[in-house]
């Protein structure tokens, strides 16, 4: 049974260990129509597209991690339209692990109500499987970023996902020496967009939710010994994953992270979903810092579904020319 989720901070391991299929919901190719009756047009199209999916699709439940104001209200809207939902209060301020472990415990209780009992053994198994998947994806991406694969693995069982990545690893070839662009933003489930970068002669490095933010983690150094420590393991894993603008980190960890990623890149493209506040607030100051580093910076605003790519192509080609 599918349990839908939207954000990379969702503890998929727990959902999986309860016997559900964690299924990442994205906007799709079809136009957003039904959702417009439930949420305003100034909600980002990722939120509207996900709602559209939910209204059409067959899900047992949805799990949210409150990331932005839009998702916070989306949880309620999903419930009001008759969906089974749970919101995990992932803190905005990164720091208090104990608090989050308690929140995860509450989540276990909810899963139990949903008919999914989590044992230490099943959770440990899921933790291992996801780690294996993440490490393999990381390897694949250092050779050649493969967005089709990374998006696909978010909608299938983790064991099948590992097999798929294994297959891809066999044939993956390291990219040649092309100018490198860092793309940063939230989600982009449209493969065409990535192709445009390649067609313009770029190699890609990314900092987005449909790319590295899905698999870049820092794992705690301890081995879980019981259910409690397994939850702590997950809490720490997600607290210290690749940082995202929806969170508050001490010492501007998010900015430092992007600036570091950009070091070996020739250009940076902000691939932002229209109306996405967390990312758009960061953009001007981050752009300034990147330009001080001598990087070429461009902004591409996306609305889903991406129908016409010509405008985007022009932007990317223009960027390629100035490098």
């Amino acid at each position: 049974m599918k349990v839908g989720y939207l954000c990379t901070f969702t503890p998929k391991e727990i959902i999986h260990s309860a016997g559900f299929l964690p299924y990442r919901v994205f906007a799709t190719e079809s136009p957003i129509t039904l959702a417009s009756g439930y949420i305003q047009s100034y909600a980002c199209s990722q939120a509207r597209g996900a709602l559209e999916c939910a209204l059409n699709g067959d899900f047992y439940a949805f799990v949210f991690t409150r990331c932005c104001d839009t998702l916070m209200r989306l949880t309620d809207i999903f419930e009001f339209v008759g969906k089974r939902v749970h919101n995990i209060e992932f803190p905005t301020k990164i720091g208090n692990i104990d608090y989050y472990v308690k929140e995860l415990k509450e989540f276990l209780a909810v899963l139990k109500e949903w008919g999914g009992d989590v044992s230490f053994e099943s959770l440990l198994e899921s933790i291992k499987l996801y780690r294996e998947l993440e490490e393999k994806l990381k390897k694949l991406f250092t050779l050649a970023p493969d967005y089709e694969t990374v998006i696909k693995v978010q909608q299938i069982d983790v064991k099948d996902a590992i097999k798929l990545v294994d297959e891809k690893l066999k044939s993956a070839k390291k990219w040649g020496n092309k100018p490198k662009v860092l793309i940063t933003g939230s989600v982009c489930p449209y493969l065409k967009v990535y192709d445009l970068f390649r067609e313009a002669g770029f190699s890609i490095k990314d900092d987005i939710c449909t790319g590295s933010r899905f698999f870049e983690f820092n794992y705690p150094s301890f081995e879980p010994e019981d259910l409690d420590s397994a939850l702590r393991f997950i809490a720490e894993k997600y607290f210290y994953k690749s940082p995202c603008p929806t969170k508050h980190y001490s010492n501007d960890r998010r900015f430092d992270y992007v600036l570091k990623l950009a070091e070996d890149c020739d250009a940076v493209v902000f691939l932002l979903v229209k109306f996405c506040e967390p990312h758009f607030f960061d953009y001007p100051q981050l752009k300034e810092k990147l330009e001080q580093m001598g990087k070429k910076v461009a902004l591409i605003e996306l609305e889903f579904p991406v129908v016409s790519t010509e405008q985007i192509r022009t932007r990317i080609e223009a960027l390629r020319e100035v490098i």
């Binding site: 009756g37 439930y38 949420i39 305003q40 100034y42 909600a43 409150r66 990331c67 932005c68 104001d69 839009t70 916070m72 209200r73 989306l74 949880t75 309620d76 809207i77 419930e79 009001f80 339209v81 919101n87 209060e89 803190p91 905005t92 301020k93 208090n96 608090y99 308690k102 929140e103 509450e106 603008p245 929806t246 508050h248 501007d252 229209k274 109306f275 506040e277 967390p278 758009f280 607030f281 960061d282 953009y283 001007p284 100051q285 752009k287």
Partner: protein, 388 residues
Amino acid sequence: MRRLEISEKMRELMTGYYMAGMQADCNAWITSGAPVELLHAFDVYPVYPENHGALIGATKFGGYYCEFAEKKGFSRDLCSYARCDIGCVFAGTSPIGGLPKPTFLFACNNICNTVVKWYQVLSRIFKVPLFVLDMPFIRKELKEHHLRYVEEQLYDFIKFVEKITDRKLDDAKLRDVVLKSMEAVELYSECLRMASNRPSPMTCFDAFVNMAPIVCLRGTDHAVAFYKEMKQELEERVKKGISAIDNEEIRLLWDNIPVWYRLKWFGEFFEKRNACLVADTYTNAWSGFKVVRGSDVISGIAEVYTVSYLNIGMDMMVDIINRLIEIYDVDGVVMHSNRSCKPYSFGQYEIQKKLSVPSVIIEADMVDERVFSEAQVVTRLEAFLEML
């Protein structure tokens, strides 16, 4: 429309408040829903960028100052309080000459997560420390661990301020400030409740105009004195049978932040049609900041501030609006779908279906007058009033 005389006093009071800010040796920029009592207890002057934004909106300079931020790359889709405030920082001024530079920043996300991003921007501009008070979203119920999480942060905040200011928190003073704050909130709620009289002695526009002291001066004697006087004026009106508008035939409730640059316009629009907007969800939100007496002060603060109006689930919001509908005995609800404020606006389509009276949704923005479409708003409101 018979405006309240107290509004003159409010202007004087707020002028005094802004002037005091210029002289304060230590100030913090603070979000409207943060526990300001702690700052008062430390003698740290609180600066309210949101109030400043409202003020700029009311003077119709919203678009003008937003453009300063937009030129620097801040998207036009961002909250207009934030854009306007950041714009004033870049412009180096505002209709009141700009805000004093902050000593530190204090953002509490019990109204939105927008403020976290906005204050991060400010903290990079001013190179001053930022404290984020992270409030769990209370979708269904306040749990013990949520409360502990907030309490712990309040203690962290005290340490943070002690370090910056080199002052010690005086417990007795904090208690005193909290009591004053409660008193002001109580008086303010009583003022708002006067609108339940038929005909109403005030409109929600009076409430909007006179809310600045409960936002900016709660915890001081000024706010207490001000709302005492406002209450007197309202009681006087009720006694003498003076109503806010002449022929109150329709009573309405407003939802969301006001359209600051059109207050007068909306007031006249409704008055002409014998409709009185007697109350609103925005100003009523502050009437909830009542610290429970008797309990530990810090945990009391943690509790009231966590369950603030914009930090609760839609079920609870529906209950609150339906309660207001009952208290103020209104015939309909006007919902402002406010492009700037997502936590306030998303969900309105669904909330609307659960209200006990009819409602209408109009699209606008609280500060950015450039997006206001008068023709559209008029058509919608007229159709709605006719239907009632």
